[in-house]
Amino acid sequence: MSKAMTGAKMVVQALVDQGVEVVFGYPGGAVLPIYDEIFQQNHIQHILVRHEQAAVHAAEGYARSTGKLGVALVTSGPGATNAVTGLTDALMDSIPILVLTGQVPTFMIGSDAFQEADTVGITRPCTKHNWLVKETDDLARVLHEACHVATSGRPGPVLIDIPKDVQFATGKYTEKKARKSYYQPQVKGDITSITELAAAMEKAKRPIFYTGGGVINSGTAASQLLRELVATTNFPITSTLMGLGAYPASGDNWLGMLGMHGLYEANMAMHGCDLMINIGARFDDRITGVLDKFSPNSKKAHIDIDVSSINKVVHVDIPIVGDVAHVLEDLLKVWKSRGRKTNAEGLSKWWSQINEWRSVDCLKFKQEGKIIKPQYALQRLQELTKNHDRYITTEVGQHQMWAAQYLTFEDPNRWMTSGGLGTMGYGFPASIGVQMAHPDALVINVAGEASWLMNMQEMGTAIQYRLPVKQFILNNERLGMVRQWQQLLHGERYSHSWSEALPDFVKLAEAFGGKGIRCSDPKDLDDAIMEMLAYDGPVIFDCLVEKHENCFPMIPSGKPHNEMLLGDASTEGAIQAGGAVMV
């Protein structure tokens, strides 16, 4: 069945048919017909952001906290180029979002028209797929196809560039299921490989699950199956930054996050294991450290929906291409049918070794004196918010790593952070997207003051839509992670890593119509956090912290997992010149 309607109306109709409820956007000349249609309907809520980059990050936050598609709508030219960072961020972290861009009319394309940019050309390498629609009759099909591509297989960002004349013209609207897409990624894993993995698990003396964002992306069923698998095998489990919450932090087998700033026990176990089971992670360089010394004596299995992730950087022995939930379901079936065997003696020794590593207590720190340690601030935040229905976003830098270390996550989709691209300015708009999806939940953006300033204009959005997002800023007046690297690697030459002109964040909050809270004394911290939680509206919490605190533990660049730095005392001479070339 097909109905005649304008291209602009098709955009709204297709979004409604796809179950989209919220669109984050910013109007401009080339999308005015679509905005006109948005004005005349009540199915889709449009959130006016203050910068197009924020629209995309908000869509990402929405998508990550719900598992659904996030949608952003921006105009041509600068609107589209401002969306590029968000698109790249979503590509790196495999987040399903749809970005709709206006374009100059088809007859003006290529003429260097006002606000013209080659949007599909610019975004080709930073989208999973993109389309320029030149005929209104094609628009509905492309809209449905785009939603399918964004959310199927390894999720990712897609973009549709819609010239203004295509929005105005009338064409045939086709329904969602009019045509089966040719894009049908494989979701079932090869059963022979799965059986091979089950057999390896039965023999393993020192196994470990190394899980990543793929578990979250696969849906809540994948997290459930993972928990069942861990319970039935009693294997230890660690996760990347992207995968936190898939297995509960309170679970007995949880070793904490691994990687450059991961926990000692997690990294030592990765280094010493004899069977590594990678579930939906991608051997990122933040995880592996120096490759030729990465977990040298282990057999490696890798479950990933993207065949290009397999053997990309680390050679694996048992590759399994498929969706995590599908593969885990089959793995559990095979495992159970083979009698749930494990190498009990080996496992018991392995656990006592792991418990020795745990006893190092690598996250310990001392809060003393009158200055708040950032770790302490997060520890208190954790204590005072753990019983809330809580979602955390972060910016990028030291605070992000501390948040990953000191906050705990019991469920998937509760933790939104820019992992792959490392986008400063991600967290605030993402928190807006999360709050839109979960109006009654507590949404906190753990931020550094430098990152936060990159998208601070979104205070306007938070105020306008009464979104009570809490901006928890660990303010050290420094680009903390840059400063840390300059200290460790660049002879303490602190080149441009601090700001001499920070705003008064309390006044800034008030200027926008929100609430500002400043806290500088550890003894006031609990009350200040409680005040933040009690306020029904956006809060900027300016937490003045120790300026020169370094983020530990740390695997220095160029070192393997078993040569971690645990604290300031042990860092002398730890990083050699060769490691400095790595970022």
């Binding site: 390498p125 290009s308 053997n311 001479g573 400095a580």
Partner: protein, 187 residues
């Protein structure tokens, strides 16, 4: 905490190489990539090669199914076995790519390229050029009293050899199509 002992200037290197060390022999592979012929599809394929630092030695593309709007892109590339595997996987995940075939490993295949060579000269050189063209089964597709344009079809090596012979005889211009390739046999 004191400064670490890092030599001044020790940090000015470029980004590090993530490639692992297994299988470091460079191999040459011919890939047939079947794609939906939609706008930008060639840019996607080429952009993948430039963006990830892979080599393209030769590339040909044409629509081979006009009704189904399918094109066939034939790419000759080189790299270590790991890089070749990555190239195939990365090509395979482009949404508009239907299939990727590695003709080098999927059994015997035929590879052909077409070359047009303009040779200018007089006297003996001109006669010799014509004689060699006959040996190589190149045909004359344009002729003046002082020049020939030869058309030659064959493997890239054959065209290389022919061009090498023509060079001292007055080769002034050459155009080549790049490799087209098909698997041998019924399938």
């Amino acid at each position: 905490m004191s400064a670490l002992k890092i030599k001044k200037g020790a940090t000015s290197h470029s980004a590090y190489d993530l490639r692992s060390t297994f299988g470091d022999e460079i191999e040459r592979h011919t890939l047939a990539v079947l794609v939906e012929n939609e706008p930008g599809v060639l840019a996607r394929v080429i952009g993948l090669f430039s963006g990830r630092g892979y080599n393209i030695e030769s590339l040909t593309v044409a629509e081979v199914d006009h009704e189904g709007h399918r094109s066939r892109i034939t790419i000759v590339t080189s790299g270590t076995p790991q890089v070749i595997t990555q190239i195939k996987a990365q090509l395979g995940r482009i949404v508009s790519v239907n299939a990727v075939h590695d003709l080098t490993v999927e059994g015997p295949s035929v590879e052909r390229e077409l070359g047009l060579l303009k040779v200018a000269g007089k006297g003996d050189a001109r006669v010799e050029a014509l004689r060699l063209a006959d040996i190589f089964r190149a045909s004359v597709v344009d002729s003046t009293l002082e020049s020939f344009v030869f058309e030659i079809t064959g493997t890239p090596e054959k065209i290389d050899a022919f061009a090498d012979l023509m060079r001292p005889l007055g080769l002034i211009e050459i155009a080549r199509t790049g490799v087209a390739a098909l698997a041998r046999g019924a399938n």
